[in-house]
Symmetry: C2
Subunit: 351 residues, 2 copies
DNA sequence: TTGTACGCGTTATCAA
DNA sequence: TTGATAACGCGTACAA
């Protein structure tokens, strides 16, 4: 497909032409040109037409730097994320962008790969007024730093967050979600539930572990440290861990991984050991990403409504940018998606 | 992890403080403050120290808009992509970012979801001097528009591109890569090779189809339109297509899909029909993304060296931004990654 | 070595 | 309804 003729003009913007050039050629003042560009009512229609024609003729495009400098805002927001290479993050970003556009913002993304310098470069854009606000999906900065940043700038946390910083956030209740995931396994009759988590700085990892323990406790199951291990969210990391689990004398009858990729890795390892899923070991993952239904069997998982999260985060940021003081945090509903990795074929399972 | 104390100052930037405020408090002129910030040699060390202290004391951060307006450059580049939710794109972007940082740029990403308005908004950032240059990974604009854009602005195409526009690009040779993938299947003894492509505006889709035909022709195999279909790159789209293929009387003995996700979908459909892979039907995908080794069997695929592509694209853009005229296009080497989806166990296969 | 003065491109204020 | 002028925050040529 291609743009129509009205739109092709859009691309003809030529470097170096200023509002002064337009004013001179049109025989008006720069102020008037500016008024036309900003749809100021008090400009004679004929003048406006004439100016518009001159603008097109010259292929003039207003310089954002000058405009933003004067207006003291850029109408641009930045989303900072560690990476965008997973379904969850990219969907959240889609929600942010779609909402941002409706609200009149340009949404830009900066990825950090958990690198301090890259993170610094992006925060710089905020500090130096290159963008009006920022949605932080992931960061290495400390609690104090987050609080300090939020005191002076317009930021919102999304998905991942640091609690009690005064900086608003949008997230699911990770503890509750993990609790429900494990409860589901227990209600299937499983008693030896392994846990593959991640040892990092993120609140979510910590909360999910607490949720796992909550469920065990509620049902009077012992916490067996032999059935707990840490991966790195990735497919391969779960393979080694799972191989150890299944060699143990006290083999688990269920496994909860805090990422779908790890759940898929665990399943791969089990299948190679000819363990039946879910009959021998039932598996639950997290995030409802592509891999959870590409894996065989399809994986029961926790869904986070990513698009809605992005939407809410952008709305919160917009409110901040419009000077609303009250900082509400938003907890988004999660959902357990039941699939074959916990469902015995033939309806033996109560779910 | 968290920043050390030197770095925490970094976050203390407070809105509204200007170079004038610093100058006043330090008892010097704004020019001197500017010189200190820009590491101008001709400033007395003691003065510089004093100014630096004042800067820290006030938590002053230079306003990028003012600076960029004055310098007529932003040292920021934008990567425009349709989406970032696949391994390939996100790896390319990683290559761009890592290289961009080394060269002193801030790299921003804008996604379009193939929406005209979103694309327009991002191109706007370039036209209006908000960024110095742009790497285009995917676009809806026409050949003429691309040429026109490239005539006045600093742009490079990466991965996907429109040929003969005068705008430089970095890409693999898609036609050659597809040719080799199909040749591999033919050399395994396969004669009825199905093709799942995508019907869209992209040059790569077209080129891969030509490569498929090249291989058939070279080996004297007939082009059977019954074995050719179009999906949308996605897992699910290939399932329906494959179900039709395998119901045909003249069932294929191999399948080449131009995305790993479609190859995985095809495999899923075949397995449910109890077709053996690769014995009955061998499968090749494209891109060497996660799904190609998560799928069972692992999928033989075409690898694109995405990080290197990003690196080269950023280097090309840097050259453009530094005024180098000569516009070289870069073809990156691809590689066929052999996996179980085309490899008969036990070494019967010659590869 | 430092300060003054101007300009980057735009918008806002005020007066006409 | 329009124009002249100042201001946004910064960097730099020039003068001191």
């Amino acid at each position: 497909m291609c743009y129509n003729h009205n739109v092709i003009d859009f691309f003809l913007g030529v470097s170096g032409i200023t509002i002064q050039d337009v004013a001179k050629l049109a025989g008006v003042s720069a102020a008037t040109v500016s008024r036309v560009l900003n749809n100021d009512k008090k400009v004679r229609p004929e003048t406006a037409d004439h100016v518009m024609n001159t603008i097109k003729q010259l292929g003039y495009k207003p310089n954002h730097l000058g405009r933003n400098l004067r207006k003291k805002q850029t109408k641009t927001v930045l989303v900072m994320a560690s990476t965008v290479s997973n379904t969850l993050t990219s969907k959240v970003i889609r929600g942010i962008e779609e909402t941002g556009i409706k609200l009149g913002y340009t949404v830009l993304i900066g990825t950090t790969n958990d690198d301090e310098n890259r993170e610094k470069a992006h925060i710089d854009l905020l500090l130096h007024k290159f963008v009006d606000g920022m949605i932080i999906m992931n960061t290495l900065i400390s609690k104090d730093e987050m609080a300090e940043l939020g005191r002076h700038h317009n930021i919102i946390q999304c998905c991942e967050y640091i609690p009690n910083t005064g900086v608003g956030f949008v997230s699911i209740n990770n503890r509750r979600a993990a609790y429900e995931a494990v409860k589901h396994l227990i209600e299937l009759g499983r008693r030896k539930i392994a846990y593959i988590g991640v040892k990092n700085h993120l609140y979510s990892s910590n909360q999910r572990y607490l949720g796992y323990k909550d469920a065990l406790k509620e049902f009077g199951l012992p916490l067996n440290l032999n059935l707990i291990a840490d991966g790195n969210y990735g497919f391969r990391s779960a393979i080694g861990i799972t191989n150890k689990f299944i060699l143990k004398e006290n083999r688990p009858d269920a496994l909860f991984a805090i990422s779908d990729r790890m759940a898929a890795g665990a399943i791969r390892a089990m299948k190679e050991a000819e363990i039946k899923i879910p009959e021998d070991i039932a598996v639950v993952g997290f995030d409802n990403t592509d891999i959870s239904y590409v894996s065989e069997p399809r994986i029961t998982t926790v869904s986070q409504s990513p698009i809605q999260m992005g939407e809410k985060a952008m709305q919160l940021l917009d409110k901040k940018l419009n000077g609303e003081q009250e900082q509400k945090n938003i907890i988004i509903k999660h959902e357990i998606i039941l699939r074959e990795s916990t469902k015995i074929k033939g309806g033996l399972c109560s779910c």
